[in-house]
Symmetry: C2
Subunit: 225 residues, 2 copies
């Protein structure tokens, strides 16, 4: 949103720990669909002399085109956004905007999301429960080529393991997520109802669920959806 007028000179010592001999601030692209939060985060980041938000996006596609145009140093992406989610945007940015590091900030950090994010080349992954200082430090660290993953999320991801589902099982489970009857799932995915039942049964067995609906709930909890 705004930048206070501030002295344009070398970031006068103040709060920001400018790196030795580099007075240029880190240029951040902020993507977050909730207007209020987006503005609030910009205000927060603006308190640091060595960080500057050069662009704000409300959707995934908007974030991507802004990244192409502005070539920021760091893209801070919300996980859930309209059109394109944060991980997809990160993947595209890695491919198209070489100098730009990406990080994900999210409310609902599931183990599965973390894994997908890391394999998409994301360098930082943290929940919105962290403090402002941590956020700023992670931005600096990611910009410097480092990585940061929230310790608790990392522990969960390790203990949770990978998704136990085969690709097909995951497909079927996803279609079952809104409580549709098996017949409808079979039509949508062009399979025999019997096959759908077998997949669902297998999936439920793997996660120790009594029925597919419980299986869906469990899969959601782990971010396997």
């Amino acid at each position: 949103m705004t930048r206070r007028p501030g002295p344009p000179g070398p970031a006068a010592g103040g709060g920001g720990r400018a790196e030795a001999g580099s007075p240029e601030p880190i240029r951040i692209l902020l993507a977050e669909d909730e207007h209020l939060i987006r503005g609030a985060l910009t205000a927060l980041l603006g308190l640091h002399d060595d960080l500057v938000v050069i662009g704000e996006a409300a959707t995934g596609t908007q974030a991507l085109s802004l990244a192409r145009a502005l070539r920021p140093d760091v893209a801070m992406l919300d996980l859930q956004m309209p059109e394109l989610d944060g991980i997809a945007v990160a993947e595209a940015i890695r491919a198209e905007v070489p100098g730009c590091q990406t990080m994900i900030v999210t409310s609902h950090g599931r183990p599965g999301h973390l894994k997908r994010a890391l394999s998409a080349g994301v360098r930082g992954f943290l929940p919105k429960t962290v403090s402002a200082e941590v956020l700023a430090d992670v931005v600096r660290s990611v910009h410097g080529g480092g990585r940061y993953v929230d310790p608790q999320l990392a522990a969960e991801a390790i203990s949770a393991g990978d998704s136990p589902f085969t690709p097909r099982e995951a497909d079927v489970l996803e279609l079952a997520a809104d409580g549709a009857p098996i017949e409808e799932i079979a039509q949508r995915i062009s399979l025999s109802p019997g096959t759908v039942r077998n997949y669902l049964s297998a999936a439920a067995g793997k996660v120790g669920a009594a029925n597919r609906h419980e299986a869906v709930a469990i899969a959601r909890r782990y971010g396997w959806l």
Copy 2:
């Protein structure tokens, strides 16, 4: 968006619309469980001369005890918080802290939540998709005795109508929410399995769902859960 630092004197006509002859800022209690968002909102509100955050709470009970101790002018409450949700806190504050107006800020604004909030005496209800200016204006309006409800949410609430479920149906539906089999629901609520099935069948019929799981999904969407 922001208020420039401005002279500290009597808010010189500029952005801060201090009420005639009252230079004292509005004292706000901010309750929000996500640390980062809490800090960011505080930073954002701090940009306004006429608003000051005098306390921050991370949980519902904490918010309540802080409200008792600090007697703020306005309590800005997140809807979903650990221990006690925003509406419960608002209700308690109405009863115990007379001078304090309450408002709810939330990510997931369902019609049902709005209704419950209003009947709990909440004066402002808005989603996190609003802009920072709106937030500040609503704080001022609520403090002045006014009300504000997000227009889109209000429209949804009106068109959605009240929850069609009887109290018992809602109970059973809630227990069915995580995909438990009927037998288990019956045990937890100490009912006969047949009765549970009847309630679920009635509930599904009321919302036009094909089964209880779809009914749960629909009820969630409207905030009836």
